[in-house]
């Protein structure tokens, strides 16, 4: 018999004895369970303005730099000024209607992760510029996939991750984000789906927060109106 069958047989034997639902012994005392997580999770306002304000507050808390800008031109201008002040020499990006316009405007060599690329080159890039699937107001997270954001490494290897998002990509909470994944991809999921919340961080030394442990030290989000 294979180990698969051995394990499944032991599981089935164990499950011949069933257990009562948690809390069933203390009726009335138990808190009530619900499949609608929205009534359990942190509250999110109903209007777009409230959600935007919550996302902004969460970003500040997480040390994410969050900018609402008018259009792609504004992003180009902002990145051009950082390019000069921080002396960027190489950027990394992927094909996307927003990223394309911005990355080509900077006049720097671009490491593209859409086709075969060199890890060493990506590692040496000053920024990773990507698009995303959604921004989540409830938690201040960015939802990306390797399909929407140029693969698995682009959003985590360069020291500064810059995300371009559209106004309609802001969703209220985590349940809505999972809903969106299901609706957008059906059963053809990208092989990596990631909720990024703030820049890379660690508290492993005396529980003191340090940014940029392994991933980006900086996370910048642009929301295009």
């Amino acid at each position: 018999m294979s180990e698969r069958e051995n394990i499944l047989t032991r599981v089935r034997e164990a499950l011949t004895v069933s257990t009562p639902k948690p809390g069933a012994k203390q009726p009335g005392k138990a808190a009530s369970a619900t499949r609608d997580f929205r009534s359990l999770l942190p509250a999110v306002g109903a209007t777009y303005e409230e959600q935007l304000a919550l996302f902004r507050a969460n970003s500040a808390d997480l040390k994410t730099d969050f900018y609402c800008v008018k259009d792609v031109e504004a992003v180009k201008a902002q990145l051009a000024s950082w390019r000069d002040s921080e002396k960027w020499r190489r950027i990394a990006s992927h094909a996307g209607s927003l990223t394309e316009a911005v990355s080509s405007s900077l006049g720097l060599p671009v490491c593209r992760t859409d086709a075969a690329y060199s890890t060493v080159e990506l590692e040496a890039s000053d920024i990773g510029l990507t698009e995303c699937d959604a921004l989540i107001a409830q938690t201040g997270s960015v939802l990306i996939t390797n399909r929407s954001a140029g693969g698995r490494a682009l959003s985590v290897l360069p020291p500064h991750h810059i995300v371009l998002a559209r106004r309609n990509q802001l969703v209220s909470g985590l349940p809505e984000a999972f809903q969106l994944i299901k609706e957008k991809y059906g059963s053809n999921y990208p092989s990596m789906i990631s909720f990024i919340t703030g820049p890379s961080r660690t508290g492993d030394i005396e529980r003191i927060l340090v940014l940029g442990a392994h991933g980006p030290k900086k996370l910048t989000l642009f929301l295009l109106e």
């Binding site: 257990t19 138990a30 999770l41 969460n58 442990a213």
Partner: protein, 465 residues
């Protein structure tokens, strides 16, 4: 007394009197407690969330066979190789076998308690492979050749000064004891390893049966890199980690982060559903998922204690446990420490050798209250005590309780012992008090025994005018 219990007692005695150790733990955990409560308060209904999470886990375990079959099927449909391991030995053999077949030169690992449970690093090193832990805390304890001190905060017991000394000695680089500088040193060292590594090993927090995904929670981005750069990826997954539906994560991810690390959600929560797919430009060419039993089915078969498999390894029961906070993580001598470790270790490694852990509890119930998936931890500990006594009763305990029953069942005798008799005994007590001859030595070696009142309530009642 078995050697594990002897070691526990010796270390516990030493560390509970070590004020420096207690200071470090209290500073770390008090900071955590404040932040955790802030995040908990954001939930509209934390108790409802706990109940829901407990029911989802209960439901997932009640159909574990179906969930596992479905998970394997959905994973395999996208080209993932699924392996089944009944024992730790089998899991090690599978992983070492893959490393050999791939001729791996450098292996990077992201944090995985399950890999600690099966002592994977030892096995890989014995087979001649170099393995580097990439989570900062795990990297630090690996350099010290130590086990993690805590399920979530592996290097919680060390000060920045000690870490600086360690880095100076082992890496030859530590410009200051500033945590930021120290983190940067580790980042530089580990970046090099990442670029070289050809095999990546990760743990997992959840697996989703419906969609064939593995969910990995982290803050540093090291698991993201482990799943992006090496050509081959291996994920070790305990069979209890499977959840039925993708959307269940909308509840579990923020709950895990809130009680685990006092964050509303962790820095990176990533779902993997396959190796590199057609049209994708990076990620591993091969992905192996190893499903590990290692006596989890024995715990499943114990219906009374089955809910211990709900555990999502958040570590919150450790953080609130007065015993953990005094004796620290290494004293337990187990992979999983604290209350949850005391409950599951006897199942995973044998009741006879590990029953003493169940007695390292005040049964105050702080653990059960802290548990996000409502494991009734202190009752599980009490049941473990009962089971251990039933398995192998101690003759002198039996005798002592028989003697106690004789006295307690006879009214005049009982009354005598708690009044005149007791007072008489206490008058002679100072002769042996605090010495080995003292029948109350276990208590009196560190504490005072309060004197029996000069007059009992009954005596007072009878004599009142």
């Amino acid at each position: 007394m078995n050697p594990h219990a002897r070691q526990f007692n010796a270390d516990a005695r030493r560390l509970s009197a070590d004020l420096r150790h207690r200071g470090i733990i209290n500073t770390a955990l008090n900071k955590y407690a404040i932040k955790r409560d802030e995040k908990k308060a954001l939930f509209q209904d934390w108790e409802g969330a706990r109940q829901t999470a407990a029911e989802i886990k209960w439901d997932a375990l009640s159909h574990l066979d179906q969930n596992l079959e479905k998970l394997a099927k959905t994973l395999e449909a996208r080209g993932t190789r699924v392996h089944w391991a009944s024992t730790a030995e089998q899991a090690r053999a599978i992983i070492v076998g893959i490393a050999k077949a791939k001729n791996a030169r450098a292996i990077v690992k992201s944090k995985s308690m399950t890999s600690e449970e099966i002592h994977l690093n030892d096995a890989l090193e014995k087979a001649g492979f170099e393995v580097v832990e990439s989570d900062l805390g795990e990297f630090i304890v690996q350099l010290r050749h130590e086990a993690p001190y805590h399920i979530v905060f592996p290097a919680m017991h060390l000060t920045r000064g000690e870490i600086r000394e360690l880095f100076q000695k082992e890496l030859g680089d530590a410009p200051s004891d500033n945590p930021e500088d120290l983190t940067l040193v580790a980042r530089r060292v580990l970046r090099k390893k990442y670029v070289q590594a050809d095999l990546g090993i990760t743990g997992a927090n959840f697996a989703i049966a419906e969609t064939g995904m593995v969910s990995i929670t982290e803050n540093e981005g090291n698991a993201r890199l482990t799943a992006a750069l090496p050509k081959t990826m291996i994920t070790l997954l305990g069979i209890e980690k499977v959840l039925p539906r993708l959307e269940d994560l909308a509840l579990f991810l923020p709950m895990l982060a809130t009680v685990g690390a006092a964050q509303l959600i962790s820095g990176y929560n990533t779902l993997y559903s396959g190796p590199r797919q057609p049209g994708e430009t990076d990620g591993p060419e091969e992905w192996h998922v190893v499903l590990l039993d290692n006596r989890r089915t024995a715990l499943l078969a114990d219906a009374e204690q089955r809910d211990a498999l709900h555990c999502i390894r958040c570590g919150s029961c450790l953080n609130v446990c007065p015993i953990y906070r005094n004796v620290g993580g290494h004293t337990y001598g187990t992979t999983y420490c604290g209350p949850i470790g005391a409950v599951i270790t006897p199942h995973l490694r044998g009741l006879r050798d590990w029953k003493h852990l169940a007695y390292a509890s005040t049964l105050c119930g702080a653990c059960a209250e802290a548990c996000p998936v409502k494991i009734d931890l202190h009752h599980r500990l009490l049941q473990t005590r009962r089971n251990s006594v039933q398995e192998k009763p101690r003759w002198w305990e039996k005798l002592a309780f028989k003697g106690f029953a004789v006295i307690a069942n006879r009214r005049p005798l009982w009354r005598y012992f708690i009044t005149q008799g007791g007072r008489l005994g206490q008058r002679f007590h100072p002769l042996v008090k605090g010495t080995r001859l003292d029948p109350a030595y276990a208590w009196t070696k560190t504490r005072e025994l309060p004197p029996i009142a000069p007059q009992s309530f009954k005596e007072w009642w009878r004599n009142r005018s």
